[in-house]
């Protein structure tokens, strides 16, 4: 149920709107300064990074307050600051910032979570000698992410998008000495690149179609009615309207960045980076960017749909989201690495968000994104402190019984796990429930809901398995673990609190979040909880979650099996276990198809290059050499011949002539007499007539 949000036309830009562009600028500048610092100046680097992000957080909070106050006065606030970036002939390329409920929420989430992660990483990275470089990249990443959030133009968004991609590459490959890290960084970069290509295509199509890339421009923007109407008119292919086609292309980009099914392979390998990186990028922000993009472009994809109806584009998004959710959850069940399990869980949760967007609209998807950001960040940092504690040991089968050694971590990690599974009153339950409820109303088909429910079951199962392995049983590692320092645990506690409390903002009874995004007033009515459909959905989800936890505890419980012992499930169902273990061979599949094709095509290109072009060039060279040969022959024989020969003749002729002047008087006399004779003869001969 999406409703057209009516925004009052923008009168003037408020102060905070003007300052909006500062929010991304400050972290970027900070990263520039940190880049200039010398390696050992870790303290200053850390303070700079944290300071700049806290400043941005402050600004975001002001903006959020401004929007809320506006919203509370009954008119939805959307303020746009546009300026011309390039003026080329008749066309000029405009960029701009936008402040509306969607961006305000994202700003606050990104800054808050980012800040906590920065504080966490000061403790985590303190032993690493490249600490300054780390903070430089991290603040650059934060700046880029904020840029994406406030962008009012698809182009500015795309720039931030690319910058985020770059920083993710740098951060994943932070320990570039490790070949696996370097390979992972490259893999991440390339796969997101594939998605970005489609994104670019969509952008270009949008620009040519609507003439502008700005989202909102006092009626002229691409997301506003006028442009949408024109796009609807153009008919693309397979029954898709132009708007739908552009939306799908942009979704392909989002899929790449958010790790949806075909392009999800890079996210598990991205765990090679340091844990704060994984937390920041692969849990809270970057992956969320894809979902945010779809939310920002939602009017485009939803254009042409009757009230309550849906478009083919949204249908595709929903199916992809649902399938990814189940797919990732299945693989997560069979993983041993603590961070890899969390990675796959992120992929499946993103699937959930995409499905939510597809079926429930912007508010449903965004609410799950916000809540997921908090508890996933918590889980990752918890995993980080576990690894830190176990002296960089990542395999869950080698841990166990940590609830005694690391009690604070255990408590916060447990809260995160419960929120993720969707246990009632925790954040995860409300946001997942909203998605399921939206799914149940989905008119197209009930398939996605079924998949999502099965996904919820699997989520609950693999999370309890992981907790069981890590915290219960007894210590299987070789060195005793120790609790992390305060600077790491405080953020965990804060996030844990949020994981518990945040859900309440979006309950059916008091849908503050949804109405805030919708720009409507939020009546408080407990009766909404008791609606038959809502009750049904929440009941099913609670049942499924409990089933999952009991099943997992039954299998793994406090057993703490030997590290070398095969997993319980492995004994039970060895064949599927092996498949899941190997990530359903998706990588290999790609290796065989795309990479093979690519290698083959490279060989062809090489052959083409060497034989054909090379041949052509060498042919030309040969031709030239031949021509030079001809030229030389020509030169020596013809030119020299004639010219030199001519000169020789001339000089010999000259010689001959000079010989006449030989100083002998009698010779002259002889010539004279001869001349006389000749002249006389001529005279006589001519006058004889």
């Amino acid at each position: 149920m999406q409703e057209t949000i009516s925004f009052t036309p923008q009168v003037g830009t408020s102060g905070i709107a003007q300052m909006l562009c500062l929010i991304p600028a400050v972290p970027v500048v900070a990263s520039g300064v940190i880049a200039l610092l010398k390696q050992p100046m870790r303290k200053t680097a850390a303070t700079l990074a944290v300071g700049s992000l806290s400043f941005s957080l402050l600004l975001s909070l002001f903006a959020f307050a401004h929007v809320v106050s506006g919203w509370s006065h009954g008119h939805a606030v959307r303020e746009v600051v546009n300026f011309t970036w390039i003026h080329v002939g008749a066309t000029n390329v405009d960029l701009g910032c936008v402040l509306d409920p969607l961006s305000a929420v994202m700003l606050v989430m990104v800054c808050f979570v980012g800040l906590l992660i920065f504080i966490y990483s000061t403790g985590y990275m303190v032993h690493d000698e490249n600490c300054t470089r780390f903070f430089c990249f991290m603040s650059l990443f934060a700046g880029a992410m904020l840029g994406v959030v406030i962008a009012n133009s698809l182009l500015l968004l795309f720039m931030g998008w690319e910058l985020v991609g770059l920083t993710s590459y740098l951060l994943i490959g932070f320990w570039y000495q490790k070949p696996s890290a370097a390979a992972a960084a490259k893999k991440a970069f390339l796969t997101t690149r594939v998605g970005d290509v489609f994104f670019l295509l969509g952008m270009v199509w949008l620009a040519s179609g609507t003439g502008t890339l700005l989202f909102y421009n006092n009626g002229g923007g691409s997301m506003e009615a006028g442009a949408l109407a024109s796009l609807l008119g153009q008919h693309a292919c397979w029954g898709l309207t132009a708007a739908g086609a552009i939306g799908l292309l942009i979704f392909a980009g989002a899929a790449g960045k958010s790790g949806q099914f075909p392009l999800h392979v890079w996210l598990p390998d991205a765990m090679e980076g340091p844990t704060p990186v994984s937390a920041l990028i692969h849990a809270a922000t970057m992956v969320a960017a894809g979902v945010y993009l779809i939310a920002r472009v939602y009017p485009l994809m939803a254009a042409g749909s009757l009230l309550g109806g849906t478009t083919t584009a949204l249908t595709v998004v929903t199916w992809v989201g649902a399938f990814t959710a189940v797919f990732a959850a299945l693989i997560a069940v069979a993983q041993d690495d603590i961070k890899r399990i969390l990675a796959y869980s992120t992929v499946s949760q993103l699937g959930y968000m995409m499905a939510g967007l597809g079926m429930g609209g912007v508010a449903v998807g965004m609410f799950h994104l916000i809540t997921h950001a908090f508890f996933k960040a918590l889980l990752f940092m918890g995993a980080g402190s576990v690894i830190h504690g176990c002296h960089d040991e990542q395999n869950i089968r080698k841990m166990g019984g940590l609830k005694a050694d690391m009690p604070l971590t255990f408590v916060t990690y447990a809260a995160g796990m419960l929120a993720l599974c969707g246990v009632p009153i925790f954040a995860g339950f409300w946001s997942k429930d909203g998605i399921l409820e939206a799914g149940s109303h989905w008119s197209v088909s009930k398939g996605p809901v079924a998949l999502l429910i099965f996904g919820a079951l699997l989520t609950a199962f693999y999370m309890t398995r992981q907790v069981a392995y890590v915290f219960f049983g007894h210590w299987r590692g070789h060195k005793p673990a120790h609790e992390s320092s305060a600077v790491m645990t405080i953020p965990l506690v804060i996030l844990a609190i949020f994981a518990c409390v945040l859900g309440l903002f979006g309950t059916p009874a008091w849908p503050w979040f949804q109405s805030f995004l919708g720009g409507r007033a939020t009546p408080v009515e407990f009766r909404a909880l008791l609606e038959p459909n809502v009750l049904l959905v929440s009941g099913v989800s609670v049942f499924v979650v409990l089933l999952g936890i009991v099943l997992a505890w039954w299998l793994y419980g406090d057993k703490s099996p030997k590290p070398d012992q095969p997993d319980v499930l492995q004994k039970a169902v060895p064949m599927p276990w092996a498949w899941l273990r190997n990530r359903l061979y998706v990588d290999e599949f790609y290796g065989v198809t795309f990479i093979a094709f690519y290698a083959w095509w490279a060989r062809i290109a090489d052959w083409l290059d060497r034989r054909v072009w090379g041949g052509a060039v060498s042919g030309v060279a040969v031709a030239f050499r031949g021509w030079a040969q001809v030229n030389r022959l020509l030169d020596t024989h013809v030119v020299d011949g004639t010219f030199d020969k001519g000169c020789e003749e001339l000089s010999t002729g000259g010689g001959l002539l000079s010989r006449i002047q030989n100083g002998q008087i009698q010779a002259y006399l002889r010539w004279l007499a001869l001349a006389v004779v000749v002249l006389a003869a001529i005279l006589i001969w001519s006058s004889r007539a």
Binding site: Q666, R670, A673, L674, V677, A680, I684
Partner: protein, 166 residues
């Protein structure tokens, strides 16, 4: 044609040939004087007395002596060791023959044009004097100047440089 003409012509030609062919230069000079004398007589034959006597006076009297003097001054009188004739004498001869052929041919073939026998012109020295002073006064003056300059020129050219006891 009178016998005298043939006789004198023969003598003149013989003299000229001797002048050109004799080995001893002084003999050549003397043969030359014979030729001059022959010519003078031819002039007399042609009733040009003044020219004849002038020829004798100028050529035999002065030029011959001059030539002989020159021969003695340049030690020409000794017979030269290597050949009297220059290297390419044949060419000279051929060309001379050619010239003679052309002239002879012209003379013989122009019988129609040339005037035949004419009366003996009675010319007196007085007439010549008048002609010289009258019609030919300009050439006379010019020749006078010429002779003076030639006189001075020859002296300067042939004069011994002062002080060089060559």
């Amino acid at each position: 044609m009178t016998i005298v003409f043939y006789l004198i012509a023969a003598i003149t030609v013989a003299g000229a040939l001797a002048a050109m062919l004799l080995k001893n230069t002084v003999h050549c000079a003397l043969a030359l004087t014979v030729a001059f004398a022959g010519l003078a007589i031819q002039f007399l034959e042609l009733d040009a007395q003044f020219a004849g006597f002038a020829q004798i006076l100028v050529y035999i009297g002065a030029v011959a002596i001059l030539i002989v003097f020159a021969i003695l001054l340049t030690r020409g009188s000794e017979t030269p060791k290597d050949g009297v004739f220059s290297k390419s004498w044949l060419a000279g001869l051929v060309i001379a023959a050619l010239v003679f052929a052309v002239l002879g041919w012209a003379v013989l073939n122009s019988t129609s044009v040339l005037p035949g026998e004419t009366a003996k012109p009675a010319v007196s020295v007085l007439q010549i004097g008048n002609a010289l002073i009258g019609r030919y006064v300009l050439p006379l003056e010019i020749v006078a100047v010429l002779l003076t300059s030639a006189l001075i020129g020859a002296v300067i050219v042939a004069r011994q440089e002062k002080g060089s006891a060559k």
